[in-house]
């Protein structure tokens, strides 16, 4: 099973890396950035796990539910 998990900082939570990167884009001449957030993308190949187990792993290990939201997609 191929799985893709995206993990993004919650909207209300400050994302310092996003802020710094948005600034850097401005310096490159791209001025119109109104929002930029940086998250993680995990690509996973796994056998013998159920989707529910993967959701569990997302909550317990892969994301930090206090400040991040995740989204799990089974690709194949």
């Amino acid at each position: 099973m191929k799985v893709r998990i995206t993990i993004m900082p919650q909207a209300a939570v400050l994302d310092p890396a996003g802020v710094a990167t948005a600034h850097a884009l401005e310096h490159l001449g791209l001025h119109g950035v109104s929002s930029l957030r940086i998250g993680k993308l995990i690509e996973l190949d796994i056998e013998g796990a159920t989707e529910e187990e993967l959701h569990q792993a997302c909550r317990d290990l892969l994301s930090n539910p206090v400040m991040e939201d995740y989204c799990l997609e089974v690709i194949s």
Partner: protein, 236 residues
């Protein structure tokens, strides 16, 4: 020797480097803000350690677009000596002045401690006063110091004798245990093909005073001084 220590937003080894340089005779050193555009009046340029732009995105990725970096490129092309320490090394890699890249330490933890590095060659302006095979005591302090390059790049580094420092044991052996961060082939520092740009993860500027436990860092600065004052001719 007229030295420039570059100051990026987030640099934090700038003052350390400045003071280390000033502890040598016949050296003037000043901070140069990253918004400046020229480095023409300097004989030696140092990119210090720190967390330029918070090291967000990738270490050194944002700093390489600072205005001063065009002057660094120009100085590099004209043969001026350039030294990048820690974050400075990362910036030089991002800027394409040195090959390869620095990624997170293999065990993902920041590491601060003294380490031993073997000097691989005296044939560089940065190591000319150190016999090859010597082992130096230098502090490290980094979370992203694992040197990585692809096979071809590593091969080229060998062929052109560009690896200047490797993590080693006290006997100079290159072992897995001696490697603090998982760097390819224990690489701790490399130079470019022209041999005037040198990047290293350890901190020679933190090993220039007896009080701090090691003065081995001085040998690197002495080599640089010697090169600038006497030119490429003199060697060991």
């Amino acid at each position: 020797m007229r030295c420039a220590v570059l100051q990026f937003p987030g640099s934090n080894g700038d003052i350390d480097a400045l003071e280390a340089l000033r502890s040598f005779e016949n050296v003037t050193a000043e901070l140069v803000w990253h918004q400046e555009k020229s480095l023409d009046s300097f004989e030696f340029i140092l990119l210090p350690g720190g967390f330029s732009y918070g090291d967000y995105l990738r270490c050194g990725a944002i700093a390489r677009f600072s205005p001063i970096m065009q002057a660094v490129q120009k100085a590099a092309a004209s043969g001026t000596l350039i030294l990048g320490i820690c974050n400075g090394f990362q910036i030089l890699c991002e800027a394409g002045l040195l090959p390869g890249t620095l990624i997170r330490n293999r065990n993902l933890l920041f590491r601060c401690e003294e380490r031993l590095v073997r000097v691989e060659t005296s044939d560089s302006p940065f190591t000319k006063k150190i016999s090859s095979g010597s082992v130096l005591h230098l502090p490290i302090a980094h979370g992203e110091g694992c040197y990585f390059a692809k096979e071809e790049t590593l091969q080229e580094l060998h062929d052109k004798d560009q690896v200047l420092l490797r993590y080693a044991t006290s006997k100079g052996e290159i072992t897995k245990d001696a490697n603090p961060n998982g760097s390819c082939e224990n690489i701790a520092g490399i130079c470019n093909q022209k041999r005037n740009v040198f990047g290293l993860m350890p901190h020679p500027e933190r090993a220039c005073d007896e009080l701090l436990g090691s003065t081995d860092g001085r040998m690197i600065f002495e080599s640089i001084l010697d090169h600038v004052h006497h030119g490429a001719g003199t060697s060991l």
